[in-house]
């Protein structure tokens, strides 16, 4: 554990070295935003709408009491989505999708000597390959989380309305009731930290792959597992720091 922590720190030092050429870095960054972020939009939308729907229905079924007003379902669904589901859930999904993609891409480049080819040219391979991914993820993940919040709440509205469990007017009143904008800030702060974890941890495992196809697969698995564990750990830490 300590060995990998030290190695990861040294790796980050290399990653955050000055880019060899800014114009090339900018092009890479745009490509990564498209590849890692825009390409993840579909899955984020699908997950968010179902997540919002399920949270709303579960809340509605659990508070079926005459003295609890129906708009409470909207309040509970909104807070669950804003505080936890949109950031943590989406980032755990991204750890699987984007994390395995990063680890397998960089791992394959390592085992096919493409990283050696960069090194031999005198290019900082870690910086060239990883920094655009980290910056792209830090930039795009909060946007995905914001979209997830909106779509999740809309999913709840649809589910409540279609099943007749929560009338539209009650739900809309509920999602506005006692709204605290800081919940969004809290979620966005978490998403930035999670984006950094997903991209850098996955890149670390990919960059340090040695062997062949089997090891690339192992690196990909390690990337997803480690990123997910760190996301859960930092979720706890950030919640204690920001909400206590």
């Amino acid at each position: 554990m300590l060995y990998h922590l030290g190695k990861y720190t040294l790796f980050l030092k290399k990653v955050f070295g000055r880019p060899d050429k800014h114009s090339v870095f900018f092009n890479q960054l745009i490509r990564e935003i498209d590849k890692l972020g825009i390409n993840s939009l579909g899955i984020v939308l699908v997950i968010s709408v179902f997540m919002g729907a399920v949270v709303t229905l579960q809340t509605a079924y659990n508070i079926e009491m005459p003295f609890i007003p129906k708009y409470t379902v909207g309040v509970a669904a909104r807070d669950s989505i804003l505080l936890e589901f949109a950031s943590t859930m989406v980032c755990l999904i991204l750890a699987g999708k984007v994390g395995s993609n990063i680890a397998s891409e960089i791992g394959t480049m390592r085992v096919t000597e493409q990283i050696d080819a960069l090194d031999i040219m005198g290019i900082n391979s870690a910086g060239f390959l990883v920094l655009p991914k980290v910056i792209a993820m830090i930039f795009i993940t909060p946007l995905l989380v914001l979209i997830s919040m909106g779509v999740g709440i809309f999913g709840g509205y649809l589910a409540g309305n279609l099943t007749g469990e929560v009338p539209a007017a009650e739900y809309i009143y509920g999602i506005q009731y006692g709204f605290r904008p800081f919940y969004i800030v809290y979620s966005l702060i978490k998403s930035v930290v999670f984006a950094f974890i997903i991209s850098s941890v996955s890149a670390y495992w990919g960059y340090h792959t040695y062997g062949g196809a089997l090891e690339v697969g192992h690196a990909s698995t390690k990337a997803v597992v480690t990123s997910s564990i760190f996301i859960l750990l930092f979720n706890l830490l950030l919640t204690q720091l920001l909400l206590a």
Binding site: K21, E113, Q114, D116, A117, D119, I120, M121, G122
Partner: protein
């Protein structure tokens, strides 16, 4: 000229190279030969700095690689070209982008000039009308030639080739060997080739270094090989019937 001085390298306590010393001359094709697992790839990668050397040094035209700082190493690396065993072309880039890559990254030339240079390098390795193709769309031999074009794009002083003929048919292997030989002389480079292809040894071996179990067993030219009195070298070189017959002819003076 590259001089290797008492180079040693171990991995996890296992000694791979032991006190290897030799000199690779400029304008010559220098070959490192040996069985699989003998340590020749580790030697090549230690020379270029992809592996950190445990003991010894590598002198590039008199400059010690070990004593160089990162900036100096970086500058030196820009004077190196390397052809990897699997070509190591960037999958997501076209042939032209691959060849232009070192120019894009390390020069401030305008795009037209970089394109011209990439086209010149591709033509020099006899590749035409493949600029827009991706590495997966061309043959293994063509990939090697693209990798050579990329390696010479910055007009390097040193060219390193790791198993340039691996996975190629004998005819394409000869084309690649001859191309490397021609480029070495044309650009007056110090070229080091890692191989176990005996056709390469006999064809372009200006200097041959034989490595066995991490130790330099023998060195000389392709002509010296027939008179070498080294048991390990003989059993390696003359393992095949054809080369034993060539030796017999050579000994009888009927080359």
């Amino acid at each position: 000229m590259i001089e290797v001085k008492n180079l040693s390298k171990a991995f996890d306590g296992k000694q791979i190279l032991k006190d290897v010393s030799t000199v690779f001359e400029k304008g010559h094709t220098n070959l490192i030969i040996g069985q699989s697992g003998s340590g020749k790839t580790v030697l090549l990668k230690s020379i270029v700095g992809l592996h950190q050397i445990d003991e010894g040094d590598v002198m590039y035209d008199g400059d010690s690689f070990v004593s160089m700082n990162n900036k100096e190493k970086r500058r030196l690396r820009q004077e190196m070209g390397m052809l990897f065993q699997g070509s190591a072309l960037f999958d997501s880039s076209t042939v032209e982008e691959n060849v232009r890559f070192p120019l894009d990254m390390l020069t401030d030339w305008p795009l037209d000039e970089r394109r011209d240079r990439a086209n010149f390098c591709l033509e020099r390795v006899n590749l035409k009308n493949v600029n827009h193709l991706f590495p997966s769309e061309i043959s293994g031999g063509m990939q090697k030639r693209v990798a050579i074009a990329r390696a010479i794009a910055l007009n390097p002083k040193y060219l390193f080739c790791d198993e340039p003929n691996s996975g190629l048919d004998p005819k394409t292997s000869i084309v690649i060997d001859e191309l490397i030989k021609e480029l070495t002389q044309e650009f007056n480079m110090t070229t080091i080739i890692n191989t176990h292809d005996m056709n390469s040894v006999m064809g372009i071996g200006d200097k041959i270094v034989f490595i066995q179990n991490g130790i330099k067993e023998w060195e000389g030219s392709k002509d010296d090989i027939f008179n070498a009195e080294n048991e390990a070298l003989e059993s390696f070189i003359f393992a095949s019937e054809i080369f034993r017959e060539v030796r017999e002819y050579h000994k009888k003076g009927r080359k």
